[in-house]
């Protein structure tokens, strides 16, 4: 497209010259074109010339085609997957081939913060706890653990080994956690360890890392002292930032820990045997893994690093990868090909956040109520976005959040969101009276520039115009720009989303606490703050859950946000591969429980 436009532009001056030139030649030309019956002697020449031109054109086309095939062949020789099995499922060697969305910046668990690293890390490393095939916490290196007030004790199993045969000890965890918190490490995710005593101060360089509340009492006992008692510490230690690092090996890598396949020591189900940067990764079964019997695969190849959905779908179609996410475009073909499809909820909620700063109209509760009353997430998701895997959101807390004995939302139900135009107009009138306005000025809707956000913003524009007569101005910005504007408060409404950092409802519940920097609309309500403090400090599960229920209710009643959708994906897997698990936490795509079912492939 870019090239085309430039070409047209470049054409302009040339074309004008050409007119000039044509004019000079026009005498002879016009005679030959306009008086066809009387064949001019020049015509034979023209014919010969055009024949020659056609011949040249044909030669050029053939040469180009040949060059393309040649280059394609050369590319395949040097391709990332060269020397690696190009099959999605290698039954003979018991190896599966998959892809990574992008190259992991590093495999250093102390510093990594991205989802792709986290996914690979979950295959090659293991923390104190891990997620099992049902996405539940299961013992990892720690055999059992116990929390007593602000002291958490982990007892490590004695058969956990590094990939060089050395045992994994409590000292490896102590070293790793203290290194994460050392200011020199500069870890972005160090804040996850802040619940530990003195961790924040040590991370800020105020006190020595020796004073951090983590201690290896002996090789197999790790004692963690917390700043204040919190109920969700055990759920955090499965995250990659809490993974162990062998001190002797770390020192020996000279700061290149995790930069290459041989610059790492592994204690997980797999070891990385090769890492071609920007191209591929090879994982093989780790014989030293304490639970090696559980791992049925002998290897896992990440043969492609791309996030382009069309490429991935083509790779899947060609049988080169065993799993791929689908877009709605490919859905019909997927059904036609009778591929086995599965669904995965990412665990994130997307919502429209109001600006609650004092100078904004959206601070008015009745205005927000009016807007919520015409808002219909079900219509938005089912009829406008209509992407497979997306579900209408009802509240800030997504579906996966558990209450005491079942889904949180069933224990603390809210009335369903139902469009009620008449009531909405009443609230709008009240809002106008309170604001002393005859008519509402246009509101600014800050939106990102993804396809879904585009459709959503235009749909909102129509909904609020049609039912309430409110004009929305759409401010479409790229991600970073949008974040900047959100932080500066330069919006009335903004389309936002939130994903969980750890497996506890608090990761959502404290979002609108007045001190939370991610509370971009600066919502401030002492009542909600009080509940957040209870949820943070209480150890009584019932009391905490009740606090979440209260937060849940306040957010709906005060219309802090308008819930939009929960994001999910529909993906296709090779029918021969069973047991792929996708987690909200930990590895997004987990192959540690996968196996190859040879029989299922027969009908393929």
């Amino acid at each position: 497209m870019l090239g085309a436009c430039l070409a047209v532009r470049d054409d302009c001056p040339n074309r004008f010259y050409q007119i000039d030139r044509d004019m000079k030649q026009s005498e002879s030309q016009s005679e030959s074109t306009q008086s066809l019956p009387a064949q001019a002697p020049g015509d034979r020449l023209t014919q010969a010339a055009s024949r020659q031109l056609a011949l040249y054109a044909a030669i050029v086309v053939i040469a180009l085609a040949a060059a393309m095939f040649g280059l394609n062949y050369l590319a395949s020789l040097t391709s990332s997957a060269a020397g690696m099995s190009r099959q999605a499922v290698d039954v003979e060697n018991n190896i599966i081939t998959s892809y990574l969305r992008e190259e992991p910046p590093q495999m250093n668990s102390l510093r990594s913060s991205d989802a792709v690293s986290s996914m690979v890390m979950a295959h090659v490393m293991e923390g104190l706890l891990r997620y099992d095939e049902n996405s539940q916490l299961a013992p990892g290196v720690a055999e059992r653990w116990e929390q007593d007030g602000s002291t958490v004790t982990f007892w490590l199993r004695d058969d956990a080994r590094w990939s060089n045969g050395e045992p994994v000890t409590a000292h490896d965890f102590e070293f790793a956690w203290k290194t994460v918190l050392a200011p020199a490490t500069g870890s972005q995710y160090a804040f996850l360890l802040y619940p530990i005593l003195n961790a924040e101060a040590a991370n800020n360089g105020e006190i020595s890392t020796d004073e951090i509340g983590v201690e290896a009492v002996d090789d197999r006992t790790l004692v963690v002292t917390l700043e204040t008692p919190i109920a969700y510490f055990d759920r955090m230690v499965a995250y990659m930032t809490f993974m162990p690092v062998n001190e002797a090996f770390y020192e020996q890598t000279n700061g290149r820990y995790g930069a290459d396949a041989d610059q790492m020591l592994y204690n997980g189900p797999f070891i990385m045997t090769s890492w071609v940067h920007g191209a591929s990764m090879q994982l093989r079964k780790n014989p030293y893994y304490w639970d090696a019997d559980r791992i049925k695969l002998d290897g896992l190849n990440y043969a492609h690093m791309t996030s382009d959905s069309n490429t991935l779908q083509n790779l899947f179609k060609d049988g080169q990868i065993a799993i791929a996410d689908l877009t709605s475009e490919m859905l019909e073909e997927a059904m036609f090909q009778r591929w086995p499809l599965s669904q995965f909820m990412e665990g994130t909620t997307f919502y429209t956040e109001f600006n609650h700063r004092p100078d904004r109209l959206t601070r008015n509760l009745n205005l927000r109520k009016a807007m919520l009353l015409v808002h219909d997430p079900s219509e938005l998701v089912n009829r406008v976005i209509k992407l497979p895997g997306y579900l209408p959101a009802e509240t800030l807390f997504p579906r996966w959040v558990e209450g005491m004995n079942g889904p949180f939302r069933e224990e603390y139900p809210l009335p369903p969101l139902q469009r009620d135009v008449e009531k909405a107009r009443e609230h709008l009138q009240m809002a106008l009276d309170e604001l002393g306005l005859e008519e509402l000025p246009p509101l600014v809707f800050l939106s990102s520039d993804t396809p879904v956000a585009r459709i959503q913003s235009e749909y909102y524009q129509e909904v609020f115009r049609r039912y309430l007569g409110i004009e929305l101005l759409i401010d479409r910005q790229v991600f970073r720009q949008r974040l900047e504007k959100m932080t500066a408060g330069d919006f009335d409404l903004v389309g936002a989303g939130w994903g969980p950092d750890y497996n506890d409802p608090l990761t959502f519940a404290d979002l609108f606490a007045s001190w939370n920097l991610n509370n971009r609309g600066r919502y401030s309500n002492p009542e909600l703050d009080a509940q957040v403090r209870i949820a943070q400090s209480s150890l009584d599960p019932q009391e905490r859950t009740d606090a979440f229920g209260e937060i849940h209710r306040i957010i709906r009643e005060q219309v802090v946000i308008m819930p939009d959708y929960e994001r999910g994906y529909v993906y296709v897997t090779d029918p021969r591969v069973k047991g792929i698990v996708r987690h909200v936490f930990g590895a997004e795509t987990d192959f540690t429980n996968a196996w190859i079912d040879v029989d299922a492939g027969d009908d393929q």
């Binding site: 044509d22 089912n382 800050l446 759409i474």
Partner: protein, 469 residues
């Protein structure tokens, strides 16, 4: 020879009579050999008419202008109006719909008369585009269920189609509302075990979905004359969209007309402005000549050297488009600022050439003033070239607008432009091709028509081609 003999002067006249000296009068038998006098424009028009391609293009351009300006008067549909009931509808789709009550969430208890007594997975209410309600008898030992939907008949456990929803616990109903189209769906149910893993058993049920519309919508959209007589179960015809609808149910025809206004506004006004400026600039340089000419043309070279796209985007940023503001005016200013040098160069060249022509020198010798030279010789002789430039500049400008709108630098939503419509249509190219094809075709036809017309005009207006006929 005969003629020669009959000729009065060639024959020998024996005697001369007085009548021989009378005037012959006007009834001369000799044919008039003079061509009818035609002005330059008449001549050009004749030649344009003879050029079929140019003539067809001219009709297309006229049709386009009618489409743009008279079209919205005839097709009175709001281009921003979203019709959620008819999203991404292809042209000529079936418009019949049943009238139903407004949607209310279902509690899973009530059941349809037709499904009563049925066992297993069943459709619990008349399936329609509003919702498909599924109900099933609880499966012993199931810790939950997975509901699938397919548009092809499932052939086994692996081909159940799109997983719709994982239901936890004992809930034994599900209401599907996801993008329901009036076609046949195959719903399948797979029970989950206690740990949430799917088993190998499944049940399938067929649902033939009918297109429906709620009473409120019928009234709001003014689909029938007498809404009070409307009863649920009646059949109504949905709003007619001759070219279908886009991804938000907006009428494609109305949007194409609205988009044409943007495109033609840019496409006609911007060239008019930059061509006029270029003409004045180039003519001044060419006519005065000397150092001024040098200065003027070096500046024009400088402007030509500016990278067009980069500066276009820079201009747009500098002009500062606020949220919800259209980028059309900055786009036009940028287009004018960056596009005039081509015309200026061309006109300067023409003027330089004409200035040295013999007839101009002759006029000068006869004492013609500069004003006379300009109005009598310079303008008429360059007008053809200028017109041609103008017709070639129009498609370029339209294309630039479409391109910039395509990359999202043009109009603000909900205003449509052909470029932005293409951008939106691209995403659904495989499933709803009409959303891309129509705006793309409009751009192509318009650009081609203007180009061919320009081509024809160039031939027609070239004064030196007059003698060839």
């Amino acid at each position: 020879m005969d003629q020669h003999l009959k000729h009065p002067t060639a024959a020998v006249v024996p005697t001369l009579r007085p009548t021989d000296f009378e005037a012959l009068g006007t009834q001369s038998a000799a044919p008039m050999l003079v061509r009818p006098s035609r002005s330059y424009w008449q001549d050009a028009w004749q030649r344009l008419k003879a050029n079929k391609r140019a003539l067809v293009s001219l009709y297309l351009v006229v049709g386009l202008i009618l489409f743009t300006f008279a079209g919205p008067l005839v097709w009175r549909v709001d281009p921003a109006l979203q019709d959620i009931d008819q999203i991404s509808l292809a042209p000529g789709a079936d418009r019949r719909a049943l009238v139903v009550e407004p949607f209310a969430a279902w509690n899973g208890v009530t059941e349809w008369a037709e499904s009563q007594g049925q066992r297993g997975l069943r459709v619990a209410d008349s399936p329609n585009t509003q919702s498909v309600r599924l109900k099933w008898d609880p499966v012993a030992g199931a810790g939950g269920y997975m509901v699938y939907r397919n548009i092809y008949e499932p052939e086994g456990r692996d081909s159940l189609g799109l997983p719709l929803m994982q239901i936890e616990g004992a809930q034994n109903y599900y209401e599907d509302r996801l993008d329901l189209q009036p076609e046949t769906y195959y719903y399948s149910l797979v029970p989950l075990d206690g740990a949430g893993q799917q088993g190998n058993d499944y049940q399938t049920v067929t649902a033939e979905v009918r297109r429906v519309i709620t009473v409120d919508e019928v009234i709001a959209r003014n689909l029938v004359d007498d809404p009070s007589a409307l009863m649920p179960g009646d059949e109504v015809m949905l709003a007619w969209h001759p070219l279908g609808t886009d991804y938000l149910g907006r009428d494609m025809l109305a949007r194409l007309m609205a988009g044409a206004q943007v495109s033609l506004f840019i496409g006609l006004l911007a060239p008019l402005l930059f061509v006029s400026f270029g003409v004045v600039y180039g003519a001044t340089a060419g006519f005065i000549g000397g150092r001024l000419d040098q200065l003027f043309m070096r500046f024009a070279d400088f402007v030509v050297a500016l990278p067009f796209l980069l500066f276009m985007i820079l201009f747009q940023v500098v002009f500062g488009i606020g949220p919800g503001e259209s980028g059309i005016i900055p786009m036009m200013v940028a287009l004018v600022i960056l596009s005039w040098p081509a015309t200026a160069r061309l006109v300067r060249g023409q003027i330089l050439q004409i200035r040295e022509e013999a007839y101009v020198s002759a006029a000068r010798l006869l004492g013609a003033s500069n004003k006379y030279l300009i109005t009598r010789h310079m303008i008429p002789n360059t007008l053809g070239v200028i017109l041609v430039t103008l017709t070639f500049a129009v498609p370029t400008a339209i294309f630039t607008e479409a391109f910039l709108s395509f990359i999202g630098m043009g109009v603000a939503p909900p205003t449509a432009s052909w470029g932005s419509m293409c951008n939106e249509g691209l995403k659904t190219m495989l499933t709803h091709p009409h959303e891309l094809i129509f705006p793309a075709a409009m751009i192509s036809i318009t650009v081609l028509a203007f180009n061919l017309l320009g081509d024809g005009l160039r031939d027609a207006l070239d004064a030196r081609m007059r003698s060839s006929e």
